[in-house]
């Protein structure tokens, strides 16, 4: 049997809150079943408070499940050996701020059992990889947010893990930084590293992940290959007009956005011709016309529309 990099079985986490009004239960994660095969990249999408970070913390033994099980390469996360092949980048990472970037990455590598020349070489490699080799001697408290994020990514990579768990890796990064992270993940993917990637940036997930899981309110509402999620609807187009009154088009009942003098119209491809003619008669001008790619974003938004909990999870 092939062991999966990550598997969960009815994984559930309930937080209890002691409020003035009494005890409340927050169902942060509700019966999650998820599998990431070795060498696969799984993107996890979900609105704020959906339970993404909770899932990750359960996988890394930072919190214990209320019920259900999690497995890393077939082992329970509370077993230190299970975490040997894992690199973890937390959400808003906070490394020891009085250490320099290099010292911190070294420290992380030594905790994973790296020693001597091998450790030194790995530290140098990953610092170059995240382009932080110029700031190695500077204490982390003098870093910007994005620089801290890069150092935290370097510590996740230092032990050459077989599984990367990344909680919003691109938060706080500039355009180049985001591009860099994408490239690093792609390179890891090529090496056969499994990746669990939580992100709010859907294009990133779309570009990197082959599988996607959508979590809403602690529940897994959809999961599967990205390619399957993209082919749901028939083709649509987006038309941009200038100098047309929206009311002139209303008989055709399209989806209309007024943008200053411009009018952006989304409609089924079949009715585009009628719209263009109507605009023409109103003496408007067609500026552009492009097909709407049915993106992961649409799939995500649709899943979100169909659920009650938009933000956070059930509080009882």
């Amino acid at each position: 049997m092939v062991t999966a990099a990550v598997s969960t079985e009815n994984l559930t986490k309930i937080y209890t809150l002691d409020l003035l009004k009494g005890r409340k239960r927050v169902v942060a994660l509700d019966g999650l079943n998820l599998t990431i095969g070795e060498g696969h990249v799984m993107g996890v999408l979900g609105p704020n408070g959906a339970g993404k970070s909770t899932t990750i913390k359960l996988l890394l033994n930072l919190i214990t499940p209320t019920s259900g099980k999690a497995r890393l390469f077939g082992l329970d996360p509370s077993d230190a050996e299970a975490r040997r092949n894992v690199g973890y980048l937390p959400e808003n990472p906070s490394p020891y701020e009085y250490l320099t970037g290099e010292e911190f990455v070294r420290f992380a590598g030594s905790l994973s059992g790296l020693r001597g020349a091998e450790l030194t070489a790995r530290v140098r490699t990953v610092l170059e990889q995240v382009q932080m080799d110029r700031f190695t001697g500077v204490q982390i408290r003098r870093y910007s947010k994005g620089m801290t994020q890069r150092i935290a990514l370097a510590q996740a990579l230092v032990s050459s893990p077989r599984l990367l768990i990344l909680d919003e890796p691109t938060s706080g990064l500039d355009v180049l930084g985001r591009q860099l992270i994408r490239d690093i993940i792609l390179a890891e993917k090529k090496k056969g590293t499994s990746v669990l990637l939580c992100s709010h940036i859907i294009p990133d997930v779309e570009a990197l992940a082959e599988d996607v899981a959508i979590l809403i309110g602690g529940k897994l509402v959809r999961s599967g290959p990205v390619s399957e999620m993209l082919s749901d609807e028939g083709s649509r187009v987006e038309l941009t007009f200038e100098g047309v009154d929206a009311q002139r088009l209303s008989p055709l009942n399209p989806e209309v956005i007024q943008d200053g003098r411009r009018l952006i119209v989304r409609t089924a491809a079949a009715s585009s011709r009628a719209l263009i003619e109507a605009a023409h008669q109103a003496e408007g001008r067609l500026i552009s016309m492009q097909p709407i790619r049915n993106s992961l974003e649409d799939a995500f938004l649709e899943a979100l529309r169909n659920s009650q909990n938009k933000v956070g999870s059930t509080i009882e």
Binding site: Y15, L62, P90, P95, Y98, S110
Partner: protein, 261 residues
């Protein structure tokens, strides 16, 4: 095991660079140094006053530092989530706690040793320059050794509380425990005189269960040049270390189960 060493050394390195520890260090230095300035060199009881003063200041600062640093370290790591990137690695939480413990003991012991060395230097200087002083005695060294044992035990107790609760709860609890631990012998004798069985049992329980910090305190003996036998030193050392190990075992058991939210 290697994890423990890395974590310990790392903790010490961090503490050296931390502004809070640096400020404490300077403060401790000034406090101990000011004892010389305030003691008259030409008093017949010079050694007694000097020892009383010098060791008194160190004996006050050392547990205060231990308590302050020992109860703050773990809760702060959890609150600031610096702990995430460490315990997610293939090291056990016990290794993390013990490593942090050792790092903290090294930090505080270092501060105490520097204060102690400064004090001994003053005694040595007085012994060499003043006819009223006979310099450093074995009792001085024993008193400083007792202070180090106190650091070892009190840090462990601080970690036990910090592993289980928040910074403020543990600081308060350990402060109370420290004072009770210094009076446990008095409480024992006091309770023994009571007519109530309950009070006698409670008094005995406190004496045997709570850490007896009084037992590690050799400062008064140093002041009066009251000698301590090697056997007593050995049994005291054994007591402090055994108690420390026990407390750390309980602390790691609690810490293994804790949620880091």
């Amino acid at each position: 095991m290697n994890g423990v060493v890395s974590i310990a050394l790392n903790g010490f390195r961090e503490a050296r660079r931390n502004r809070v520890t640096s400020v404490l260090f300077v403060f401790a230095f000034i406090m101990v140094f000011s004892t010389t300035v305030s003691v008259e060199f030409t008093v017949a009881t010079f050694d007694r006053v000097m020892t009383d003063f010098g060791l008194g200041v160190i004996g006050l600062l050392s547990p205060a530092l231990t308590l302050f640093l020992g109860t703050a370290l773990i809760p702060r790591e959890i609150e600031r989530r610096t702990i995430f990137m460490v315990v997610a690695r293939p090291v056990s939480r016990s290794a993390f706690l013990v490593g942090r413990y050792i790092g903290n003991v090294i930090t505080v012991a270092f501060l105490v040793l520097v204060m102690g060395a400064l004090f001994l230097l003053q005694m040595q200087f007085a012994g060499a320059t003043s006819t009223y002083s006979s310099g450093i005695h074995r009792e001085h060294l024993i008193a400083l050794y007792g202070l180090l044992l106190e650091v070892v035990l009190l840090t462990a107790v601080s970690f036990l509380f910090a592993a289980a609760s928040s910074q403020y709860v543990s600081a308060l609890s350990v402060t109370c425990l420290y004072f009770i631990g210094h009076m446990s012998e008095d409480l024992y004798t006091l309770a023994g005189r009571s007519k109530s069985d309950v009070i006698r049992v409670v008094g005995r329980a406190i004496y045997y269960l709570l850490p007896n910090f009084d037992r590690l305190d050799f400062k008064a003996r140093a002041t009066y040049f009251d000698p301590t036998s090697n056997a007593e030193l050995l049994s005291t050392t054994g007591y402090a270390l055994a108690y420390t190990v026990l407390v750390l075992i309980v602390a790691t058991r609690i810490f293994e189960r804790r949620d880091f939210k």
